[in-house]
């Protein structure tokens, strides 16, 4: 095979920030304009060469076209460029990396910097270049770290393997976040375990930003006694900056702080008991039912594992090309934003009903059985039936708010699609890719972090939260025990035996949650996987650039890969073997053309519904 096998040992070859305003006069040296250059060991004259030439040529092109340069290709490197006023960022990758991904990486990097430091100009006035250099380095290394090449292609969020974790733990994590949100100063939160998202209330883009800080500290040696309840050692905080749209988005999420009071009377006790009695011990019955009968088990799936259920909800309509959110069938989330209490009630009923009928089997186990896992719930809600009630409700809200986000994003992006129909859009379809942190005013917020060994609770809070001792203590104490419990459980989860390679490879990208499901081992540069990864990256770029494209099959001598996408997801599938007999002539018996059928069939058991 004449193909170029390029292990992504380093995702980014060059990155620099160049400030043209410092190099104005004839006598000014290029090096004065270099704010940061990666790799830092690059000889200075080469740094100057790259910065000077790229900035010069970039400015010239920008003037000719009266628009900033976005992409600059060399024979061996592909640079994503961002120009704002006199500042120029350039991030160079190998030309093998698709343009979409390079641009996305640069946007992520700049957005990260602005999230933790505020506007670039301003932070360079406040801090020394060395301090900020170490930050750029930290963010770069975070973005390049560990994850597989597939994850780089989609720039997706690293989540815990939801198929391997008890869904109740995910629920529990969501509940912890709900509880914290009852403090009015808490905007939203996210729980991360060993660098992987367990549960989040924020958009994937915002969650990714939190991850940096988390993983940065996570890699440092752990405090021997992380559980120590000495308030200060496990808890830290840092200033962060949100863009207006991010803030608006968080605030628009209907977290109705006193919603519980009027919704509680509707609940009926036996059901609640059933609800609460779901414990770790009886999960097998419910998880078993998921793959075998995805249709009817949608609501419990939804209840137990948001990750899985999201995908199945959306994938139920693979041919969907309209930008509208999926049709509101009863167990599915309410779609419109804003108040919808009547809908909610009816939804709740069907919701409970389906849950009840489905979970009947092993659900009668007594409350006592789950003490270890759920004992601390009483802290949250005052215990007893009311507590359960509140929790019940809170969970609904969690679902609700989450779904609202989803639908919001769907419709938001959908609009973009419709409008940009005629125009090729090379820009990545990320909501915050279009923001220009240098221009828009950033709103200071605080990131509150509570660490329990490998587990981190990250909350976005109003800045005066830190001075509000009572709120802080409330949040701390209300979540402490739950976090300990969650950590203990997550820690005990065996790292999941990677399934036998199987006769096929797939990758399923959920564009809404920005998560990736794949049976591909994370090993870099696995030779048999290369064709799949290469095809996926090509197809993903094609999908990004062609709004109307729904499915594609492409075949080289060695591999045939099927890709399909809807508004909410992209799925890629490759079957091993069976290609040698093909001559490349059109032939309907060709195995490549049976890929769509096989993908639909095979991926069901991974929770991917392509029907």
């Amino acid at each position: 095979m004449a193909e170029l096998v390029l292990p992504y040992s380093r995702r980014c070859n060059y990155f620099f920030l160049y400030d043209g305003s410092k190099v104005r006069g004839e006598s000014d040296q290029t090096r004065e304009g270099i704010c940061y250059f990666y790799p830092e060991e690059t000889p200075l004259d080469r740094q100057e060469l790259l910065c000077g030439q790229l900035a010069g040529a970039g400015r010239c092109v920008s003037e000719l076209s009266s628009s900033p340069v976005r992409i600059l290709n060399l024979h061996r490197n592909r640079f994503a460029i961002r120009m704002e006023d006199d500042l120029l960022w350039a991030l160079g990758c190998s030309v093998e990396v698709p343009t979409v991904s390079v641009c996305e990486l640069l946007d992520q990097l700049i957005n990260l910097f602005c999230f933790y430091n505020g506007s670039v100009r301003h932070s360079y006035q406040l801090n020394s270049q060395e301090t900020l250099a170490s930050r750029w380095a930290q963010y770069l290394s975070h973005l390049q770290s560990g994850s597989s090449e597939l994850q780089h292609i989609f720039s997706c969020l690293t989540t815990i393997d939801s198929t391997n974790v008890d869904p109740l733990l995910l629920l529990k994590a969501a509940l912890i976040l709900q509880a914290c949100q009852r403090c009015p100063l808490v905007l939203a939160g996210c729980i991360i375990f060993r660098g992987r998202v367990v549960s989040t209330q924020m958009s994937p883009q915002l969650t990714m930003k939190l991850m940096v800080h988390e993983s940065g500290t996570y890699t440092k040696p752990q405090r021997p006694n992380g559980q120590s309840s000495s308030f200060g050692s496990a808890v830290s905080s840092t200033a962060v900056f949100l863009t207006p749209s991010e803030l608006q988005y968080l605030q628009s999420t209907p977290v109705d702080k006193d919603f519980s009071s009027h919704s509680t009377p509707h609940k009926n006790t036996p059901l609640k008991k059933t609800r609460l009695s779901r414990t770790l011990s009886d999960t097998p019955s419910s998880t078993e039912s998921e793959p075998s009968d995805p249709g009817s088990s949608q609501s419990p799936q939804k209840l137990l594992s948001p990750h899985l259920s999201e995908s199945s909800v959306y994938s139920s309509d693979p041919s969907q090309s309209t930008p509208n959110p999926p049709p509101p069938q009863p167990p599915e989330p309410p779609l419109s934003n804003g108040k919808h209490s009547s809908v909610e009630e009816s939804l709740e009923e069907s919701y409970y009903h389906s849950f009840h009928s489905n979970g009947e089997g092993g659900s009668q186990i007594d409350n006592g059985g789950d003490s270890s896992a759920f004992g601390e719930n009483s802290h949250l809600n005052g215990g007893g039936v009311d507590g359960a009630c509140g929790e019940e409700f809170n969970f609904r809200v969690a679902e609700e708010s989450h779904d609202n986000k989803v639908s919001e994003e769907v419709s938001g992006r959908g609009c973009g699609r419709v409008q940009g129909h005629e125009v090729e859009r090379p820009d990545p379809p990320r909501s915050d890719a279009f923001e220009h942190p240098g221009e828009s005013p950033l709103i200071p917020m605080t990131l509150y972090l509570h660490r329990v060994k490998g587990l981190v609770l990250a909350l976005l809070v109003e800045p005066h939260f830190l001075s509000d001792k009572a709120s802080m203590e409330e949040v701390y104490h209300s979540s402490l025990a739950s976090l300990n419990g969650l950590e203990a459980h997550l820690r005990s989860v065996s790292p999941g035996v990677p399934g036998a390679p199987g006769p096929y490879i797939f990758a399923h990208f959920d564009c809404i949650q920005s998560t990736l499901t794949s049976n591909l081992s994370g090993r870099p540069g696995g030779a048999p996987e290369r064709p799949f990864v290469r095809a996926t990256s090509l197809l993903h770029s094609h999908f990004c650039n062609t709004e109307t494209l729904q499915e594609a099959i492409i075949r080289s001598a060695g591999a045939a890969v099927y890709g399909t996408r809807s508004v909410a997801q992209e799925t890629y599938f490759q079957q091993h073997g069976g290609l040698l007999r093909n001559s490349g002539i059109p032939n309907h018996q060709d195995s490549a053309f049976s890929l769509p059928g096989k993908a639909r069939h095979r991926l069901l058991k991974h929770g991917v519904n392509l029907l």
Partner: protein, 680 residues
């Protein structure tokens, strides 16, 4: 917003073409930067100033980083593609979204191909080529650029509207009986008669073909001629279209067509060969003018060759019987010779129908010798550059000793002719002295010497073939009378068919004949890459001519889908994918590339090389990708004739995939059968 610029490394404009929008954009930038506003600089200077930073940065990057720009994209989707051939930097720009990066790169390569066809091996010496592309005389320069600009516009128009230029393969008129009759006529009557005439002045007709618009009615090659490559044939079709544009305007009042072809009417064509009669007087008369314009004048002492000869290319007279000098590839049993001189006679029969004659000129053997020497010096230079020691390098194949005596003889023969070869003689003597010497710095000096030899050889070649060498009273060409006779003969032959042919060329094959057998099929293109021919239902989208696709926006939409499908599949092919199916909106697209042996047996799919993004465009016009692909594939099929086919189909999306694939299979096996008559 389109532009194509060729620049030297010192940011000197060697050629530029812009559309009106880009022109205005450049002027506007100049107005804003020049506040005093007294008089805008010449456009050429403005464009040079605006692009200079990019050009200089490009050169710096190559020098210091060994890497250089291939493209820029701005946020408002302006695309700049850059490519450097030797010392000439090509920059193509698009700011209206009509062309992608691939299209621009293709345009650059096509421009280079056209320059090669026009200037032959002179393109191998950057110094000479620079002078050729930028004549000192401004009037002459304007004329040359106008000609190149109109060629480029003709090409762009064809690429945007003609399927055969979309896929870069020749389309034949499907009418087997008439085709056969015509071929026979060309062979038995026309070519025989021409080649036995005394008025042919030593020229020999090698190829003769009849074009109806861009489609080939008949093609005949004489027995001792080598095959004409598809790349050259396509380039010749562009040239003939440029001379005699198909007046699609007559039945197609599409303003676009008028705009893009209006500048290339027959009255504005350009002939590089000067009239022998007034050559001397003009060249001396223009001397002072040239000296008074030392624009970026740069004289390399090594290139001080036969200075006078460089200035003889002067104002050409618009004599329609003067043939065009074209440089085409010739493959003989002793090897492949690129850029061999031919004369091209383009004889209009009726509007839209043209007879093209390609003749071998009597001195073409000189070109072969020059090419052999050039190749030898190039190889030696390469070995020296790779660090081989001088004496060892000279012993490589072919050895300098091999060519030594040949070159001595060659120079001696030149001395007897009217070609100025004193400079070549000097440089050769110097080279021979040097090679015997050795010592420190030997390699570097020898490399320098090699370069000099190459330049001098190109110079001799230029004198021989770019400048008319006949004497005043007996120009070396088929006599005007003979040309006229040829024209009349073919006219008589085709008189009754003329109107039929003009209609046929617009509706060569139509989808109607396929609808019954292939329900749901909207369009297809089938290409035989081994012969460089294609078949596709006509896609004429004009106001008055209604095709089966209907007219107006729907037909335009399908056309744009077909065009984008071709560029998409090329991108996948570039990355090694030979089968692509796409469900896009309401359509289902298929693309297949496969190999067969001579008997039609389907060969197994092989590896297709994976190429970088900035590699030469996939096609046959500028750079024959498929020839290389066939060579690559044939490595595993020694002793077998391998053929390569492509099929693209557009179906309605509602048709089940199995049916679509069955259609494709039937089309693939059926298409070439009924019309398997040897044409090329």
């Amino acid at each position: 917003m389109k532009c194509l610029l060729i620049s030297s490394q010192s940011a000197e404009v060697l050629f530029h073409w812009t559309d009106p929008e880009f022109y205005q954009n450049v002027q506007a930038q100049y107005v804003s930067s020049q506040e005093d506003g007294h008089g805008l600089p010449a456009f050429e200077d403005s464009i040079s100033t605006l692009f200079a930073p990019i050009i200089i940065s490009c050169i710096t990057m190559v020098d210091r980083l060994g890497d250089s720009y291939t493209s820029f994209t701005t946020e408002n989707n302006h695309i700049y593609v850059l490519h450097q051939f030797d010392e000439c930097l090509y920059i193509a720009v698009n700011g209206d979204g009509e062309e992608g990066e691939g299209d621009l790169r293709r345009k650059i390569y096509v421009m280079k191909k056209m320059i090669e066809v026009m200037f032959g091996m002179v393109t191998l010496s950057s110094n000479l080529l620079k002078r050729e592309l930028r004549p000192q005389d401004t009037e002459q320069r304007a004329r040359l650029w106008e000609h190149l600009q109109s060629l480029l516009e003709t090409y762009s128009h064809l690429r945007e509207n003609d399927q055969s230029f979309l896929v870069e393969a020749v389309e034949r008129l499907i009418h087997p009986t008439l085709c056969e009759q015509c071929i026979e006529f060309l062979e038995r009557r026309l070519v025989q008669q021409l080649n036995s005439s005394v008025e042919r002045a030593g020229e020999e007709v090698l190829h003769a073909f009849i074009l109806v618009h861009t489609k080939l009615l008949a093609f005949y090659s004489s027995r001792n001629a080598s095959t004409l490559s598809t790349s050259d044939l396509l380039a010749l079709i562009i040239m003939s279209q440029n001379m005699y544009p198909s007046n699609t305007d007559q039945d197609d009042p599409n303003p676009e067509d008028i705009e893009s072809t209006s500048g290339s009417g027959p009255e504005s064509f350009y002939t590089p060969e000067p009239s022998p009669t007034d050559m001397d007087s003009r060249s001396s008369a223009d001397m002072p003018v040239r000296e008074s314009t030392p624009l970026f004048e740069f004289v390399d002492p090594d290139v001080q060759m036969a200075e006078d000869s460089l200035h003889t290319l002067e104002v050409p007279p618009p004599d329609p019987s003067t043939p065009r000098r074209v440089f085409l590839e010739v493959s003989l049993k002793d090897g492949l010779f690129p850029m061999m001189p031919h004369s091209m006679y383009c004889l209009p029969l009726w509007p839209g129908i043209t007879l093209v004659l390609l003749t071998k000129i009597p001195t073409s053997a000189v070109a072969m010798s020059v090419y052999t020497f050039l190749e030898a010096f190039a190889k030696l230079e390469k070995r020296l550059n790779e660090g081989q020691e001088g004496p060892a390098a000279t012993r490589g194949q072919p050895t300098i000793h091999d060519i030594r005596s040949k070159l001595d003889k060659f120079i001696k023969a030149l001395g007897a002719s009217e070609i100025q070869s004193a400079q070549l003689q000097n440089v050769w003597t110097d080279f021979k002295n040097r090679i015997g010497r050795g010592g420190p710095g030997f390699n570097r000096e020898l490399i320098h010497s090699c370069k000099n030899m190459k330049t001098q050889l190109c110079g001799v070649y230029r004198q021989c073939f770019l400048i008319e060498s006949g004497t005043a009273d007996s120009p070396r060409r088929l006599s005007p009378g003979l040309q006229e006779r040829a024209q009349t003969m073919v006219q008589d032959k085709l008189m009754d068919w003329k109107d039929f042919l003009l209609v046929k060329s617009k509706r060569n094959i139509t989808m109607v004949s396929y609808l019954e057998d292939f329900p749901g099929l909207i369009h297809f293109i089938c290409v035989d890459r081994s012969t460089g021919q294609m078949i596709a239902p006509s896609l004429n989208i004009t106001e008055r001519n209604v095709s089966e696709l209907g007219k107006g926006p729907l037909a335009q939409f399908i056309k744009s889908k077909v065009w984008s499908l071709v560029s998409t599949t090329r991108r996948y092919l570039q990355k090694g994918y030979s089968t692509v199916t796409l469900r896009d909106g309401d359509f289902y697209f298929c693309y297949f590339l496969w190999f067969e042996n001579e008997t039609g047996y389907k060969l197994e799919a092989g590896d297709i090389p994976v190429l970088p993004d900035d590699s030469a465009p996939i096609g046959m016009l500028a750079w024959d990708y498929y020839r290389k692909l066939l060579r690559y594939y044939s490595k595993n099929h020694q002793g077998e004739v391998v053929k390569c086919y492509e099929l693209l189909t557009v179906h309605l999306g509602v048709i089940p995939t199995e049916v679509i694939l069955q259609h494709c299979r039937q089309l693939a096996s059926k298409l070439w059968e009924p019309s398997r008559n040897p044409l090329l």
